[in-house]
């Protein structure tokens, strides 16, 4: 039995996605080690501390992918998106965020984590909320394709309100604006591809744009003082980092210094100066700046292109998927990654205030990489289904 060209294309898409993912993970591990060895060594006398933690999370993520590729995984994938279950999933997500109030642990002043007792593993429920929202939306759209044609607001609200409530919970309880933005971003993009009426989208985008402009113009006229809220202060710091070095301007400015000092080809891998304790928490959100410093414009552009390739491959997968549920899940994951990459690089290059978004697959953070790999697991499952469909 010879393979059809269609099937061949599906296989090549799957391989591409696998290669890109693996490439990003390895690149990330390199950068995490390179940028955290100094801090790891300085903090706990263990230069491999961050690398080891990240590797464990990535192995766990790959196991999750494997599980999705089993028949049980397929069943689970369909079950969680089913009409009966997805409301439950949303509620579970909401409860997981609310329970942080009682069982969460505080890191740097914000309660965002559960700690698994007896281990050093901690989990961020916001990541879980993102998956839950993707599955909810995909399931809804698959079960009620008519939603795409409901006029004006009815359909829009059906899809929009539950994620909005979840995003609100994440923002209020965990004080995590960036996750809330990402949740709403995924939601709005998924709705955008679903609902036909372009006027609704335009109106909403308009409202968001007006609010943002008004807020920024107000902030830029305010006098800086410690009394105003810290989010407003962050924006003021973003507008003028040099003036607020002691109050959060230091990290973004140092990141800019790192990028600027990289040049076309960079200082060479492992040769970053800025990572030596100058940029706080460099292995987290600011890791892109070390990539720029060490591998220059060439490395940075290459990384952005690889991310785009990943997004594009996912788009092709989605486009070739007949099953609406699968298609929407793949698009949701694609939007998630695209939004997060954009936000992170915009923050690091100073196009946006500091929000605390990691670079997918590259930044240090076990919780983040585990859930991202789980999302990819669903994409792989969809590709696998596509392949088997074309036997």
């Amino acid at each position: 039995m010879s393979k059809s060209p269609v099937k061949k294309r599906d296989i090549s898409l799957m391989l591409s996605l696998a290669l890109i993912t693996l490439g990003l993970l390895i690149w990330g591990l390199f950068m995490i080690f390179s940028s955290s060895a100094y801090n790891g060594g300085a903090e706990s006398a263990d230069t491999f501390h961050y690398l080891r933690t990240q590797l464990i999370a990535e192995f766990a993520g790959i196991i999750v992918i494997m599980i999705f590729l089993t028949p049980a995984g397929k069943w689970m994938f369909e079950f969680i998106g089913s009409n009966k279950f997805r409301i439950l999933l949303l509620m579970a997500a909401a409860v997981s965020v609310i329970m942080l109030k009682f069982f969460g642990i505080s890191v740097n002043g914000a309660i965002r984590w559960y700690k698994i007792p007896g281990t050093s593993i901690s989990v961020q429920p916001a990541e879980f909320v993102k998956i839950a929202v993707i599955i909810y939306l995909a399931g809804m759209v698959a079960d009620y394709p008519i939603l795409g044609r409901v006029g004006r607001f009815k359909g829009y609200l059906t899809l929009f309100v539950p994620p909005l409530i979840l995003a609100g919970l994440v923002y209020v309880i965990t004080d995590n604006l960036s996750s809330a933005i990402i949740i709403m971003g995924i939601t709005m993009l998924m709705i955008f591809v679903t609902i036909k009426d372009i006027k609704v989208h335009a109106a909403l985008a308009g409202i968001v744009a007006v609010l943002l402009t008004w807020y920024l113009s107000r902030v830029s006229q305010m006098e800086y003082s410690a009394d105003i809220g810290y989010r407003t202060r962050r924006i003021m710091v973003w507008l003028n980092p040099e003036a607020h070095l002691r109050d959060g301007g230091f990290q973004p400015l140092q990141a800019l210094y790192a990028i600027g000092s990289g040049g076309l080809t960079g200082k060479g891998i492992g040769r970053s100066i800025q990572k030596l304790g100058t940029i706080p928490e460099v292995h987290n959100d600011m890791i892109f700046s070390v990539i720029c410093e060490e591998t220059g414009l060439i490395g940075a552009a290459l990384l952005i292109l690889v991310f785009f390739a990943m997004i594009f491959v996912m788009y092709l997968i989605a486009a070739r998927t007949v099953d609406i549920y699968g298609k929407m899940v793949v698009l949701g994951v694609m939007f998630h990654i695209a939004i997060q990459v954009s936000l992170n690089i915009m923050v690091v290059t100073g196009l946006m205030p500091n929000t605390g978004v990691g670079l997918p697959f590259i930044s240090y953070g076990g919780s983040s990489v585990l859930f991202l790999l789980a999302e990819l697991g669903m994409v792989f499952l969809v590709v696998k289904e596509n392949i088997t469909r074309h036997v």
Partner: protein, 715 residues
């Protein structure tokens, strides 16, 4: 929630109905989704291109600036390694000055408060810091609360290495103990007692320490703001100062964490020719003198306004001891606690009068400035009769005076004619009668010396004066040597009267170092050396960097004249004005001196004794000056200078292994409290010198710990 769900289900039912009536074409729907997603992918593509352009523009526009910024920060964030200032050692290696590593204790309010937020351990942490470093808890707490973001507050200086280690080990053990007991009892960790180990940090620096306190303070000088002031610290500041080092961190090619250290370059050590023991003897005797004679004539004043002693090696120009009163402790240069209240107030009164000051602070500063001046090199006075030595030497060397000459002293000398005639009296107004040259010096006869001066003439007198170094700096290696060129006569300013007074040491000013150095040339065979305190510079590893060899300035008088002068000077101590200066068991030579000042309505004196030892082979010159002694008459003053010299030599000569050659008389025994060891030997006579030597040899062994100071040729 339940309601919302109910509403939603109702709405969903409607949707199902809708779905029934309007069939959605899955193909069409799928196409729209694909199209819209494709549009969004394009939007992201554009966004990503913008991001790449943005990264590129940062690199191109700001790249150079930011590169500089990164490098300059690097310098800023790396740690500085302080250099160690060189030590100052005496000739036997005893430490006179050294730099000790101590620490600044730095409080980080921000980290303390972070600890408080996380563990609630601010109390425990503050208590620990306050207890260990003897600080006020309330002060620390208030400071942290008032400056919550401050990360660098020096809360204590001069923390020793031991204190630092004791603190660090202490909190490590306490925290370990807490964690251990927590894991044993399952009771959970007592976070509140866990001490925040990042609350304080230590920054090392060096502190200048003078282990022997005030010993040789005037010679050493002191250090303020890591800059040497006065004395050796000031003169050799460049050599003592090193260069700060730096420590940088970086990752190597194979990602290993490396620290690069550009080590600090420490300063050079100075090895001086000062002998701590001799220095101490001189200082002790000077202090004893000034204490014993305090209030003697003028109530509330010490034994003298200034007292100075210099001991110089006549054959090299090395300074073996240089001591003065008043003195200060370079560890704490402004401290006056070693003086009693009366002395302090008299010093303050003198300073206030001299600089016409009224404010307390200004007076304090003036007192300190006076104290820091080294009387031996930085102050001048009229030499008085010790100047006769140089007149006589000049006379002999020019041939104007011969050993066989006879001088007549009738109590005064008149020169000039008519109205311009000047009469100068001898201190013995009844006249010394007929004198040989030797006797003229022994009796310190002004008239005989003036007559010699008339024979020498102004030109030769000035030439010899200059050759001896008067009016010129000796260039001794101590900061701030006084320039006396304007305080001596030259061809233009010297008339007959000036020449006459100069012959017996009045009318011009000298410094002690000039005088003793000139005297050294008289007794060493006629060679003037440059006096120096430092004999070599060593690096911290003990390698010699520079040796300072004896430096001949010029030959002043001939060897014959030198021999002749030695004879005369011995005569002064044997049978002249300086008999009181003779140390028991030794024969020495010298010359007494008294200069008279009249100013401010009172008559004052500077009395001195300038000598050498031993008589047969001069090794050291000693010069004792008591400036304005607190005595009723000059005669007492001169006596005190001689006695002070005797007391010093009594201890110094045995220590230097100079053999005793003279019989100690019963008088000396009684007066100086010397045990009668000689009586153990039944037949003590002039011939039994060797036995006497053996005795003194034993005696000196006990006084000596450091070996011979001067090795005598042929020994």
């Amino acid at each position: 929630m339940a309601e919302r769900r109910k509403g939603e289900e109702h709405f969903l039912l409607n949707l199902k109905k809708l779905a029934g009536s309007h069939r959605v074409d899955p193909g069409k729907f799928s196409k729209r989704v694909n199209g819209r997603a494709g549009f969004l992918v394009t939007v992201f593509a554009v966004l990503f291109i913008i991001l790449i352009v943005k990264v590129g523009s940062i690199m191109i526009e700001k790249g150079d600036d930011y590169k500089m910024q990164v490098l300059s920060q690097q310098q800023y964030s790396s740690t500085e390694i302080p250099y160690k200032r060189g030590a100052i050692l005496d000739r036997n290696g005893a430490v006179l000055a050294q730099s000790e590593k101590v620490y600044k204790l730095i409080l980080d309010s921000k980290l303390v408060l972070e600890g408080e937020k996380k563990n609630g351990n601010m109390d425990a942490t503050i208590t620990e810091i306050a207890d260990k470093f003897d600080l006020d808890k309330k002060y620390l707490r208030d400071y942290i609360n008032e400056n919550p973001t401050d990360q660098y507050k020096v809360i204590k200086r001069e923390v020793s290495y031991n204190e630092k280690i004791s603190y660090e080990e202490g909190i490590k053990n306490k925290n370990k103990e807490l964690r251990r007991s927590a894991s044993e009892n399952e009771g959970g960790l007592d976070k509140k007692s866990l001490i925040n180990d990042s609350a304080v940090s230590f920054e090392s620096y060096y502190k200048r320490v003078y282990p022997a306190g005030a010993l040789a303070g005037d010679v050493l000088g002191y250090v303020s703001d890591s800059k040497g002031r006065y004395g050796l610290e000031g003169f050799y500041d460049d050599e003592l100062t090193g260069r700060n080092g730096r420590e940088y961190g970086y990752l190597t090619d194979d990602n290993a964490l490396e620290r690069t250290v550009i080590s600090a370059v420490d300063g050079y050590n100075l090895v001086t020719s000062i002998d701590s023991y001799i220095q101490k003897v001189c200082e002790d005797k000077i202090r004893k003198y000034n204490e014993e004679h305090a209030n003697e004539f003028r109530e509330g004043e010490p034994g003298s306004e200034n007292t100075g002693v210099i001991i110089e090696n006549v054959n090299t120009g090395e300074i073996i001891a240089m001591a003065s009163y008043p003195y200060y402790d370079p560890n704490n240069p402004k401290d006056l606690s070693m003086y009693d209240d009366a002395t302090v107030s008299s010093m303050r009164a003198a300073a206030a009068e001299e600089y016409s000051l009224s404010e307390n602070e200004a007076i304090d500063d003036a007192v300190s400035a006076e104290l820091w001046k080294n009387f031996c090199t930085q102050q001048s006075y009229e030499p008085g009769s010790v100047g006769k030595t140089f007149t006589l030497a000049a006379g002999l060397d020019t041939g104007a005076v011969h050993d066989s000459d006879i001088y007549e002293c009738g109590g005064h000398l008149t020169f000039g004619e008519g109205a311009r005639a000047v009469t100068i009296h001898c201190h013995n107004r009844y006249g010394d009668g007929t004198l040989t040259v030797k006797q003229a010096l022994e009796k310190s006869c002004n008239v005989a010396l003036m007559k010699m001066g008339q024979k020498i003439g102004k030109e030769d007198f000035l030439k010899y004066s200059r050759n001896f170094g008067f009016g010129l700096k000796t260039n001794i290696d101590l900061e701030g040597e006084m320039v006396t060129s304007s305080l001596v006569f030259n061809e233009r300013t010297m008339g007959t009267t000036e020449l006459m007074t100069s012959t017996f040491g009045q009318g011009y000013n000298v410094t002690m170092i000039e005088t003793v150095n000139a005297f050294s040339s008289i007794v060493n065979g006629g060679t003037l050396y440059k006096p120096h305190v430092v004999s070599r510079l060593e690096d911290q590893g003990g390698n010699v960097v520079k040796t300072i060899k004896p430096e001949v300035v010029r030959r002043v008088i001939s060897e014959e004249v030198s021999k002749q002068m030695i004879e005369y000077c011995i005569g002064v101590v044997d049978e002249g004005t300086g008999t009181r200066a003779k140390p028991a068991g030794y024969r020495i030579g010298g010359k007494t001196g008294t200069a008279e000042y009249s100013g401010k309505g009172k008559v004052d004196y500077t009395v001195s004794f300038m000598g050498f030892a031993p008589a047969d082979d001069p090794q050291i010159a000693i010069y004792v000056v008591i400036d304005r002694p607190n005595t009723s008459s000059q005669e007492y003053g001169t006596r005190y200078a001689c006695l002070l010299c005797r007391d010093i030599l009594n201890e110094v000569l045995p220590y230097m292994h100079v053999p005793k050659t003279e019989i100690i008389s019963d008088e000396e025994r009684a007066e100086q409290d010397i045990p009668d060891t000689a009586s153990l030997y039944p037949s003590v006579s002039q011939d039994s010198v060797s036995e006497d030597e053996a005795v003194s040899g034993n005696a000196s062994l006990s006084a000596d710990e450091a070996g011979p100071l001067i090795e005598r040729a042929g020994e």
